[in-house]
């Protein structure tokens, strides 16, 4: 997987598949309210697309799309969105995670506020799951040495 798979077919299929996978993950997330799916599954699938990039090309390619720092930020950001959404109702006498009080900030009735509140937290879940899965995979596959492995590749060393 770290070796360059000099296989044109794999790369072409991957190039073709990746946008579809990403679209599908978005579909899973959006449709989570009315069909199986949701943030977690969506996040996993989104991460799978990045894993596929890493497999078909290399980690550097994946990092071009989503740099390491950004990914780290996303790890924290997702849960922060979730927790902060839960915190917001506290300012308007609601309980923690009581989304219906979001209706005081958004032009929505309480039930719909719950509906979109759930969507919001699922977004947070998706972001974190995606970022963590990517980071986990990259760390495990390189045993934590992203850079040295990339450098080795530039120098033509096959590990």
């Amino acid at each position: 997987m770290v070796k360059d798979p000099d296989d044109i077919i794999v790369r072409t299929v991957a190039r073709f598949m990746i946008p579809i996978i990403q679209l599908f993950s978005l579909y899973v997330y959006v449709h989570g309210h009315i069909s199986p799916g949701g943030g977690f599954q969506g996040g996993c699938i989104l991460a799978a697309s990045f894993i596929l990039i890493s497999l078909a090309f290399n980690i550097g390619e994946a990092k071009k799309i989503l740099s390491g720092r950004k990914n780290l930020l996303f790890i924290g950001l997702g849960v922060f969105i979730y927790a902060f959404t839960g915190l917001v109702p506290l300012f308007v006498q609601g309980n923690f995670l009581d989304y219906q009080h979001l209706s005081q900030f958004l032009p929505l009735d309480p039930v719909m506020a719950r509906y979109y509140g759930v969507a919001l937290v699922e977004l947070g879940v998706q972001i974190t799951v995606m970022a963590v899965m990517i980071s986990l995979f990259q760390d495990l596959v390189t045993a934590g040495r992203h850079e040295s492995i990339l450098k080795d590749r530039e120098n033509g060393i096959d590990r």
Partner: protein
């Protein structure tokens, strides 16, 4: 030593599991307590209370949304732990 302890633990676990299974209500009984106490409300009122038809999603993110917050935190923790343990990079 630890092997024997392990086998003992497996045996203990198994005995306990078999003991406990004896008076389960039959499988997929619609009247078992698990099906009639808390969960009916989720099914019956999810639409009017949250507007979400997928009951699993509504319970996951709303009724028991707090668990899910921690579930996500568990994922966060795992990611952070692996970064702490494995990653050896000068600049991130």
């Amino acid at each position: 030593m630890s092997r024997i302890l392990g086998i003992m633990m497996v045996t203990f676990f198994g005995a306990l599991l078999i003991l406990s299974t004896v008076d389960f209500s039959p499988w997929s009984d619609p009247a078992q307590p698990a099906a009639v106490h808390v969960s009916p409300r989720y099914i019956e009122r999810t639409i009017e209370e949250t507007g979400i038809p997928n009951v699993v999603t509504s319970v996951l993110a709303d009724y028991r949304g707090y668990d899910t917050l921690f579930e996500t935190s568990v994922i966060f923790t795992a990611g952070v732990v692996v970064i702490l343990l494995l990653r050896r990079e000068k600049k991130w």
